[in-house]
Symmetry: C2
Subunit: 310 residues, 2 copies
């Protein structure tokens, strides 16, 4: 049985891709089981509820040599513990290729599109396999989530085509209304502790000789997040110290207005943000304006800054 | 213009894949030019002549940042010099994933099939693009070459299907006769210097803390090769010293009888061959019997040996 899973701190694309790819592999003769590597966020919980699908089991460890299929990630730092001792047989991803190696020839399918779901849709069509209403809703949700309903600069024509193909199968007649419901669910953060808010969509990147943690909160209600600014800044400082990081940033992305105001815990980060983005920090908030994609707009600017100051 | 090329010491799959993928990319809106990273072997020269196609230009270096598409390989040791400074935008391959990383999301298409040509045939069909007679002959030749006319254990059902699909388009009515012509051309080694015979189909692999060079000569006339055993062993020792390798082996594969007798230059290699394959070396030749695939039968056994003795 091949274990299929997306990245740590899973988002909607990571969870739905695991579910749909496990189903596809099983239909193609490779028995597979979907897993998750962390808690569902509120958006993903909403999507699974709408689709009538249970969350996949939480995976913490696998016996050495187990066959695994990775979706929506490929770097070991974002994957299950001990990945190097597992046998990677399949990868479907839309990120840059990192430190992955395989011990045998494997099926790798990477495309520079906005989400894994778009690639999975193509895999079905290429194989001449139909997509049922449940899988179509899962994939459509992932497209809308990863592209912020086509607002993100990572969006490609292929993602728009995938959504247009999937929506009628999923029985979603008003895609805009459904996307707004998803974003409202995502924004309903309730009494989530500040440490969890920071880590909801959070990745650690090597920059220069050090490491930075970059969190993103995509929300239709940025006022709620800034209302908790003081405790979030404390959580960021604590995480920075606990994990030996050189910097931590938390970008609060206003989905509807497509703006990014980023929390900056100390002068050290403020100096880098000034140099990399030309943005000054006031009262521990930097206005990064229309930079709403971590992958395409935040990380490359920081990489360029550290490459020039190595 | 994207530069498309296969591995160093190119074989028929490496050369034809570069030609056909450059053509496909160009048709899909990405202008591309095929190159080769070394001399054509006699089989490939025969195939290009039959297809009426010129050899692609020899590539030695590219400006930093150039966009490249890799076919039939992915490891930097088998690729153009300075690969890490180039921008890899596409990879089509059937080998295990090595040390490749990409700076941006790229198109990666890996499948565990017998040759790159089979994947290229699928890319055309998925895109709804026809394959012309010339490209069909190039791809068919690569399938027959890499699978040794379906004798190699790397052969999959997909490779047989690809050949059956391609042969009528290529106008090849007797596939067996055409394969025999290819193998005869490959086996007509004439007065090729021993250094060139060693390097005709030769790859360097990292094993444990060191590096080994593994050559293969696939031939219908092994007697000719063993007639030149003494000079080949001298060439192997010279290459080992010149390139600072820990071991060199040259497998002489009898295509028609599907057997492998391997030249062993020193006791150091003989000890590893004994441990990894259970094969003793007599008069500097080890009988590796039915192990005719470097990828599937030679490399994994050596990797397992060095992993256990690291």
């Amino acid at each position: 049985m091949t274990a299929v899973f997306g990245h740590l701190n899973p988002d909607t694309d990571a969870i739905t891709a695991a579910l749909v790819y496990a189903h596809l592999l099983s239909r193609q003769g490779t028995p597979a089981q979907a897993y998750r590597l962390g808690e569902l966020n509120f958006e993903t919980a909403f999507v699974l509820e709408q689709a009538g699908v249970d969350a996949p089991p939480l995976l913490s460890e696998l016996p050495a040599g187990s066959e695994v299929a990775l979706v929506d990630h490929n770097e070991s730092a974002q994957s299950v513990a001990g990945l190097k001792n597992l046998t990677v047989t399949h990868v479907v991803d839309h990120h840059k290729l990192g430190d992955l190696e395989t011990s045998q020839p494997a099926v790798l399918r990477f495309e520079p599109v906005g989400c894994t779901a778009t690639i999975l849709m193509r895999l079905h069509r290429e194989a001449g396999l139909s997509i049922d209403a449940t899988d179509a809703r899962l994939l459509l949700s992932a497209v809308l989530s990863d592209t912020l309903h086509f607002r993100s600069p990572t969006t490609t024509a292929a993602d728009r085509e995938a959504a247009a193909f999937l929506a009628p199968i999923a029985g979603v007649t008003d895609v805009t209304a459904y996307a707004m419901q998803m974003f409202a669910a995502k924004s309903d953060l309730g009494d989530t502790p500040a440490e969890k808010l920071l880590k909801m969509d959070y990745k650690v990147f090597p920059f220069g000789a050090g490491k930075w943690g970059l969190g993103v909160i995509e929300t239709t209600n940025p006022g709620y997040v800034f209302g908790r600014q003081a405790e979030l800044l404390v959580a960021m400082q604590a995480e920075k110290a606990a994990s030996g990081l050189d910097g931590v940033l938390l970008s609060v992305v206003d989905i509807l207005n497509e703006t990014n105001r980023t929390l900056v815990p100390s002068d050290a980060e403020a100096a880098v943000v000034q140099a990399a983005f030309g943005a000054s920090t006031e009262a521990q908030v930097a206005d990064l304006q229309k930079r709403i994609s971590r992958k395409k707009q935040i990380v490359p600017a920081l990489e360029a800054y550290f490459a020039a100051h190595a």
